[in-house]
Amino acid sequence: MGNMKVREIIAKNIAPMLRDGELVNLGVGMPTMVGNYVDPSVHLMFHGENGTIGASRQIPNDMCDSPEKFLAWEDAHSGYRSDYKTGHKDLVNAGSYFITLDEGSCCFGLATSFAIARGGHLDATVLGALQVDQHADLANWLIPGKRENGMGGAMDILSGAKRAIIAMEHQTRGGSPKLLSKCTLPLTAVHCVDTVVTEKCIVGFDDEGFVIKAMYPGVTREELLSTIEGHVSFAEDMKEMII
């Protein structure tokens, strides 16, 4: 299964977990793909941790081809020469890409943005991960010995979001499990994950460990048991993942 296909399966299976009217924070990378698969009848509000609710679309990044192009774009989209509907040099998402906003959106400073995250006002967050363990602990910010980029807002968002949904490939590139009895990498947050979606299964948690709630067509229980390290049980009402 190709990498694009894996990402598509994961995004497609997360999309129906987001409900009409909810405020959702999508992490950078695979999580942002989830928006593409949400049913058009479901209206979500997106929280941008850098200070928005209501992001509409990302503006193609052509203006970054050269410093000259960038300066020209900034000039044409500065002050009151442009606005939130058409794009503005002062309007970016948390990944620093220029965006537009829908009508009814709002902007605010970081203190308010993290009030929303930490204060329990975020219905769900979708984040990537390096490892998740059977205690619902998550590691996604640091590999010791590798370049350190910092945790950004992930720890805060996980400490406050009502539901944390993890979008993660089932195993490492080397074939090692990423669903573990105990994370070996430095943690981002403890007891925070509600659901993990991989290309093979959808995983929840009970007091003992992982609970497989849905499986991708063709994946066997044996395959899951051999690719997950930790206590695994299977839900009675096992579902099939969306293909």
């Binding site: 900034e74 970016v92 993290f114 910092g150």
Partner: protein, 224 residues
Amino acid sequence: MNKIITAEEAAKMVTSDKTVMISGFGISGTPNHIIQAIADSGVRGLSVISGDMGENDRGFRQGTAKLVGNHQIEKATLAFTGVNPEAAEMAASGELDLTFVPLGTLIERIRCGGYGLGGFYTKTGVGTLVAEGKETKIIDGEEYLFEKPLRADVALVKAYKADTLGNAVFRYTARNFNDTMATAADVTILEVEELVQPGEIGPDEVQLPGIFVNYIVEGKGAVL
């Protein structure tokens, strides 16, 4: 009480013995003209508090990345280097001393410093490396970390527009750290694209009261 100065005059207040807050999230809401003047000044050994280290992944250095690229920063307290891989590399090589703080904790610690509070408790970071060496407290059955206020000697902030008293207005996501950092330094220098007279910004439009602003730099046009 004339608050207007030049970017060069602002840069002179940024010296290696001082802690400097530099606002901005990536390239958004960063005082680019003041940063350019600091780059030109050649000052080295700076201690910085900021969200990130600017951007350097589009083929050119933007915002604080300029000071990183010039080897002017010695240490920084920040939340991420995501869009400036160069900073992460310099940290790995030991040239740059980086202390990472979760973004929500970082903005709250700065607010705490500006708002005259002694510290606060947050759940962010409980059970992680961030908790190491920190006091914890059980409040209503839940574990929290104690976090202390952050202040700086100088804060460099950016708004779209301000009157000559410093009453300022932001645009969109360019507010980020600006309104908070402005409260938390002994000297706050505000860069604006447009400078207007008192009365041109109504009392309800003001997003940062001028009382928090010591100096104003007018910086017209984009800088790279």
